[in-house]
Each structure stands twice: as C-alpha cells, then as structure tokens.
Symmetry: C2
Subunit: 538 residues, 2 copies
C-alpha cells in the first residue's frame, strides 16, 4: 500500500495535475453543450472528468479484416491528424517517461465495417469514438461503417485534444468519452465560384481542407459563368479562350486532381455547368453560341451546335467528376436575346414555342444529355417554378430565391437543396453568423415524407467581390454556423444562436490555429477586429 501511495505521489510530481473523479455520464443537450468544444455538435456525447496524455508516437492500428485501406485514405487522414496535433505546438514532455503508462494514449484503433472506399451520395458517415479510461496501454477507439465515417471520427478526436501549457504535452480531457455521431442531412455543401474570380488550385485545396474541419461534404464548384470560362474542355478546346488570362485556367488533369484531393477527404465535387443563361464566356472561343455578336446570352437555343457543345462538355466532365449529381444551373434566364434575334425568333415560330417554352425545351434537353452520361440532375429553382411539371422527376431543386419553393417542390415530390439567399449567401456580408445558424432547412415543412425529400443545404460563396485574398474569411466562421445546422441533430441545435457563441468562437480560433483565416464572430461578414483582444472574445 505504501509503495502504491509512493508511486501515486511520484506520478503527481511527474505529471502535474491528475484529477480522479466520479464518472459522470452526460447526454448532450444544448445547454450542457457549454462544456463541450466540439463543432459541429455530435448526436450523442458522454464524457467524464479524467485526463489522458497523447503519446509522443501516436500510432494507427486497424482491424484489417474488412477494410484494407489499400488506397491509403485512412492512413493519410491519420497523418493529417498528426500534422494538426504536432504543428500547432511544440511538445516537450516525453511520454515514454510517464510512470503510469496507462495514462498515455498510445494509438487510435480503427475498425471499419465495409471493405470499399467508394464515396457516393448517401454514404454512411456515422462513427463511434470512444476514449476509455481503462487500458494498459490506453487507446482511442473508432468504429465506422465506412472510411469516411472514420475520417469524421478523427476530426472529432482532434477537437478533444488540447495542448497543456503546463505539462507541454497534448492531453485529452473529460475522459472517458463515448461519442456516437452521424449527420442530420446527407448533403452539406459549400459553393465556390471560379468564374467571377479565378481561384488557384492551392486555394481550392485549402478550402477543401477547411471544409473537413466542419464536416461539410459537398463542394459545389460553379466553374464557368458569364465572366470567364477557366476549365479545359478537350472536346471543344476553344471554350477556355474565355478565360481572363492564359494562366487563369484549370486543365482537366487539374480538375481531376481536385476531385481526387476532395474524395480522399470524404468530399464530393459537384460540377455546375450553368445553362442556358450565365454563359456569355462560352462564346469567346465559339461566337456562334451567342444569339448575336451584340446579344450574348442565353446560349443560342435554335442551334444544334449549342447542344453539341453541351454534350461535349458533359462527356468530358463525366470522365472526371464522378459524383452522382451534376448541376445544370438554369437560373436567371433572360430570353430577350432569343426573341430579338431574327434567326432565333424564326426558329421559335417554326417550332411553335414561346420564349418560356424555349427555356423549358433547353433545360429538358440539357437534362436528357446529362442523364445519358449517368448523372442525376440538380437545377436552380426557376426551372421548377416555371415548368416544374415538365422536369424529370428525379431533378433535385436547388432553392435560393423565393420563399415557399421548398414546400411546393417537396409537396410535388422533388428532392431539394436549401440555399436561401437571405440567410445562406456568404457574399452577403450583412448576414450574421447567428442568421446562418438559425436558418432551418425544414422550416414550414411538417410532413415526414416531404422532410425526407430535403437532401440538405449549401452556403454559397459567390465570387463577384471575393477572390483568393479574402475567400477564407468570407467563408469562415459563418459557414461553420450553417455546417452545424446541417450536421447536428435538430434537438441538439441551440434554439437561440447566441447560446453557441463561446463554442463557435472556440472553433473559429481552432481554425486560425490550423492556418485558416476565419474572421472574428463580431460584426459583418469578414469584418476586421475593431480593437486588440482575445481571439475567443472577438
């Protein structure tokens, strides 16, 4: 007994504070979540009061029976975890010298139930993360159905680790942990716009990395638009003459690299080829796509060549963009260039179509072509609002503009994605993080059948007045507020946004520590801090 007491005494000297307390199980609820610093909040969390230390040589161990990690997705995710843990601080304590080795977490043991690593819509992203107190040596444990759930678990684990400035080692507090988690919505997106401002590949990769911290899982890449066409299209190589400059371009190999980079992090890339509007840049290389030299949008509906080009684009991108969906745009179509251009108005007359019917014809033809390449289609809401009954029933309606669209579309049996501009447009600097947090995708949708049709939502980083110099702070932390709305169980969401201020501030500072230029919480979007102060209070 005396020897044991002596050992405990020595441990106290070596290890500093060692708290032993009665195990307290807490189910997470919004008011108890004050103690938690995890963002977004998991489905179910129980934690205690003990502390473990992260070993200097943390290792990854796996079950290996089902999931072999042949492509190294899990291993790379683990290395990214180590990079995050080791890059923020300098660890000075040598955990090999700790007398009580059971207090040292030596590794993370990951068991993944499925053998494949295909990332597709609706993939199981659930996980269980546990950090038990017992163990000699101690381990953290992850169980997941797929490797993508395991990646989420590693992210959550990174958020319960702390560098202790006294012990100079990374610690896990509030042990033992048992976390069950899965997302509320399967589609949790962020739109970026590389037409209004070109974004270098490295910047896009940084955005993808930052998305993983908040468990966002779809990067909606609005690649081309009126102002520029930066993507290589091998079938029609003059299309990218519509770039701003010869260097502000993406080759197909680079697009494939972005898809690969994202996929290995559990993120889908949704390519958008917006037609028939928002397409002026297409005509720089192929002027015949314009109704006329003076009337350059929408794309010429009367011309077979227009649809040959669209088909070529879809054919090329289908080789690279493997997400189940493609976004065909279809928003803000001003048809006056059709009716005012003689050869097109003649064509309309011959076909017996008015402008609105021509718009419908265009969208349906584009849908048909995209389907032939195996895609399911997402379209902006105007297509539903104008000719919903004619759309392919599998169309996903992307709501951005008019109130009531989500109710109407789901009532008509369509799936929906929510991006209502008054709440989830990141380029609206006046929209506060509280408003981002409070925006409920199922607002006014009460029937379970309709609720089930809402795939999720997306915050939109339109690029008219944003480029690589300020995109990160315009996205974060407001996108994080929406990310919790999309991940966390409805009952665990704060009813009043201000309740999560401290936890979001903590997440914002975590982003800064990881090199992500997340803006202060106070003020408008991307506001600079107005005075000296702590990261946690601004």
């Amino acid at each position: 007994m005396l020897a044991m007491m002596g050992r405990i005494g020595i441990q106290k000297i070596f290890l500093g504070i060692l708290l032993i307390d009665v195990l307290v199980i807490r189910s997470v609820a919004a008011d108890n979540a004050k103690d938690l610093k995890i963002w977004p909040l998991p489905v179910s969390v129980s934690y205690g009061h003990d502390r473990l230390y992260l070993g200097n040589d943390l290792e990854l161990t796996t079950d290996g029976r089902m999931y072999s990690d042949a492509s190294g997705i899990l291993k790379d995710g683990f290395f990214r975890l180590l990079h995050i843990l080791n890059g923020d601080h300098v660890i000075e304590a040598n955990t090999f010298h700790f007398i009580n080795s059971s207090l040292v977490i030596e590794g993370i043991h990951v068991v993944i139930a499925s053998s494949g690593n295909e990332l597709q819509h609706g993939v199981d992203e659930s996980y269980k993360l546990s950090v038990p107190m017992q163990g000699n040596p101690s381990f953290a444990y992850i169980e997941a159905k797929t490797v993508y759930g395991a990646l989420h678990a590693l992210e959550t684990f990174s958020q319960i680790c702390y560098f202790n400035f006294s012990t100079r080692v990374i610690e896990v507090h509030q042990v033992p942990w048992t976390i069950f988690d899965k997302p509320r919505f399967s589609y949790r997106g962020l739109l970026i716009d590389t037409s209004r401002h070109f974004l270098p590949i490295r910047m896009i990769k940084k955005v993808i990395d930052s998305m993983t911290y908040a468990k966002l899982n779809v990067l909606h890449w609005h690649i081309v638009d009126t102002e520029s066409f930066p993507l290589e299209i091998p079938s029609y190589p003059k299309l990218w003459n519509g770039t701003y400059s010869s260097s502000e371009r993406y080759t197909m190999a680079e697009a494939a690299e972005i898809v690969r980079y994202a996929q290995r992090r559990g993120i889908h890339i949704l390519a958008e080829i917006d037609v028939p509007g928002h397409a002026k840049s297409w005509g720089v290389g192929y002027p015949s796509l314009w109704p006329s030299i003076n009337c350059t949008q929408p794309l010429d509906v009367s011309s077979n060549f227009t649809f040959e080009v669209i088909d070529g684009i879809l054919s090329d991108i289908s080789k690279v963009f493997k997400y189940k969906f493609v976004h065909l745009g279809g928003d803000e179509v001003n048809t006056s260039c059709w009716t005012s251009t003689p050869h097109i108005s003649n064509w309309l007359e011959k076909k017996g179509l008015n402008e609105s019917e021509a718009y419908q014809y265009f969208v349906l033809e584009a849908q048909r072509m995209a389907s032939s390449y195996g895609y399911d289609i997402i379209n902006w809401e105007e297509t539903f609002v104008n000719f919903g009954s004619k759309l392919s029933r599998k169309t996903v309606i992307h709501h951005w503009l008019r109130g009531g669209v989500v109710q109407q579309a789901t009532a008509a049996g369509f799936q929906c994605i929510v991006s209502n501009q008054e709440s989830w447009y990141l380029d609206n600097l006046g929209t506060t993080w509280q408003e981002f947090y409070a925006n409920e995708p199922l607002m006014n949708i009460t029937k379970p059948k309709q609720q089930a049709l809402v795939m999720g939502g997306e915050v939109c980083m339109w690029g008219e007045r944003v480029d690589g110099s300020d995109i990160e702070q315009t996205i974060w932390p407001r996108a994080a507020a929406a990310a919790e709305r999309l991940w966390t169980s409805y009952d665990n969401l704060a009813k009043n946004s201000t309740e999560v201020t401290e936890r979001l501030a903590h997440f914002r500072c975590l982003l800064n520590q990881r090199g992500v230029a997340a803006a202060p919480l106070t003020g408008r979007g991307r506001a600079a801090p107005v005075e000296p102060g702590s990261c946690y209070k601004q």
Copy 2:
C-alpha cells in the same frame, strides 16, 4: 541532313513550339524590366528568347567541396522549390520522352563558397543564377557565397518557371539567363505584433514563408505590449499571466521553433522587448511592476525588481533569439505615472532626476543589460530625439515618426532603420502600394558616410485591428513594394511606381498561387476586389 531535318520536324510535333532566335543580351533597366516578371528586380539580368523544359525529376547537385549542407538547409530549400513548382499545377508531359534531351533541365547545380551556415547580420546574400542554352543534359547553375544566397537564387529560379498550358510541363522561357544579384540593404524587415492580437504559430510560419518570396530577411517580432504578454519567461513564470487566455501563448520551445524555422529560410528574428512604456501587461502577473494599481505604465523606474525582471527576460531570450540585435523599444513613454506616484516621485527627487532623465536612465540601464548578453541594441527614435548624445554609440535608431530623424541620427554617427509611418505602416490602410514603393530610405541623405549608416528599412504590421484572419492581405502586396525598394539597386528602381504595376500584379498573383492571400493592387490596403476580373488586372 535530311535525317536531321526529319528529327527537327519530329521534335516540332512532339514539343509544340520551339523557337530558335538570335541571342539577345539585355542589361536590366527599369523600362526593359517590363519583359521581366521577377520580383524584386535583380541587380543584373541578361536573357534570351529560347525555351527549356523542366525535367520531371529535377535533381539538386552540389559541389560539396566547401559546403556540406550537413543541416540540410539547402536540401530543404530545394524541396520547397519542388513543392512550389509541382503544387501549383499538374504536370502531364513526360520529359523523358523528349527526343532532344538537351532541351530538358535535369537539375540545379549549386556551388556555395563558404562552409558554414551561420545566419548573421550582414551575411553575404549574393548569388549568380544561370540557365545556359547549351548542355547535354541541361542544368541550371547557382553560385553563391553562402547557402542563404543560394536560397535567394532558388526563389528567383522559381519565378522564371512557367507552367505551359499547351505542353503541360513547366518551362523556362527567355533562356539563356545570367542573373547577378545581391540586396541593396542588408536589413529588410517586416514587423508583426503578437500582443494586440495573438498569432498562432502556423500563421507566423506562413508569414515567414511569404517573406522569402519577396526576399525580406528580418522578422521583427513585437512580442509583448500593453494589451498582452504571450511569451513564456522561465525566469519570471507569472509574466505570461498577462496573456489574453491560457491558450494564446508561446512557450520558449515554440519561440525557438519559430527562430529555427526562420533561420533555415535565411530570416533573422528580431525580438522586441519594449521598455519602459508599452508594458502594462507585465504587471498582471507581477503588479509591483506597475507604478500603482491605478497607474500601470511605464514600468516602475524606482524599483530594483523592474530591472531584475528585464534582466531575467533578456537572459531567457538570449538563449533562443540568436540574432545579433535585440529591440528594446523605448517609444511613446508617458512619464506622468512616475511623477504622480509618491514612491516614484520621491525616488526621482532622491536621485536628482527629472522625468526625462529618468526615462533616459531606464533606457540606458536596459541597454547595458542587453549588451551584457552580447546583444547590439535597436531603439525607437524617441530615445535618440530625447537623449541621443547619451545613447550607446552602437545603438541602431529605428525611425518611425518625425521627419529628419534619419538625417540627424546618421549625421551623429548612428546606424538607422527606416519605418516612417506615413509610408511604411501596413496598418494604415490608406497608404497605397505606390507610396510603399516610392518611399526611399536615403531620402535627403546625400553623404556616402551617412548613407552607409542606413542599415535598411522595415514595414510594420501593427496588430490593433489585424489578426490571423486578415494579416496576409494586409501585408501583401504592399510589403512587396517596399521589399523591392530595399533589395533592388537604386538605379533599377522605377522612378514612377506605376511603371511596375504589371510586374507587381504578376507577383501578387504568384503569391495567390502559392496560397498567400495577397490583396488586389487597386484600392486601399486589403481592399476586396470590387467586381469580377482577372487577378492580373485588379
């Protein structure tokens, strides 16, 4: 002949464009620099019209006779070059298949004349970079006196490489190159302020990396000030109770890591411990340093403890900060808390000192202590203005406020650093890049002896209203404009800032490609782009 012609024909098919032209030697002058895209502009540049291709497996070869690179500084610099070249684009061509292998640059051959790798003030940073047309295989050649000159050469080399969207390989245009280069000033600084806002280590490292792109070589780390004291001081461990929060701190090991990270990139870290003003935060842990609980600045000049603490700080930092200089501040000293606090005014009376003499006494005592640790001292200009004749002759005067100080200080034989606030304060968002570019450190200093006393200059990123979320775009590109003023030979500088707009825009976009959030050129400091457009035109 026919066979040769046939081979040339095949080469043209395989390699695309192959231009052979008469060799044109151009010495760089500001107006010819329009063709160059290097920033900052080198001393002497000759180039041609030919093109070489960068081999897929670019290798580093060295002479080895003098410089062994035992600590891997050169090798790491080379890997950073590869990371930059390969990370921006996806290389698709296989240079091993090029028929004419003499067109492929297989490696960079580096010869360094000195054996050591000590980084100290005045280290030789010169280099010669040549890319000859002849060679089978072709090589780029670097000669430098020190490894730090070689690092600059690698940076310049990275700026003459281009990803060609047709050949899908990195090319070097305008071959053959012969570049001789060295800095005009040996001190080319950037100040960061981690007291007004804590900057995570990762952010500081990003700033250091970005400095290397513009060949800045001193990071003036204004570590502590009124608002917070984030640095661990082992001799007086309560000093960092003055942090904003328990996590917004740097351990000494982390400070050492920053020094190491910078040193391996050729950058000195200048630590500033500003006394006796700007020091309120010191008293959070040691309230006796304050004149009184209600009057908390400057540090109590009457107390031995004050100087014991300063001595402890200097002792601790001297173990980590190995730059020849330490900055002791001494600016903006409001002595009213001395005269209004009884025990101090009594002490002044006893010592026969007025407030001004007490200020002088304080600064000289701090200088004496810093000297005892082997440091040379930098002080802000008020010390010179108020008691220049009493300062140690080796003091370097840091000009920021009053016109004429540099002329007066150099006339009195002092070395100077220039940071005049109306031109080189980055937190002044209204100061344009043109004004940064045009600010001449030797303005009105005509005598060669006095000119030689101007060590260089520094742009200051004060942190009152800047944090990790917006520091990069507040620094860049305006700091780059100053970086050229400090590096480039006076005769090669543009007499009118607007002449370098295109080249600076190119450098800004290069920074973006490398993941540095450099702001558009147009508008105020860190202004967002006002509309869609090309990086090169905003």
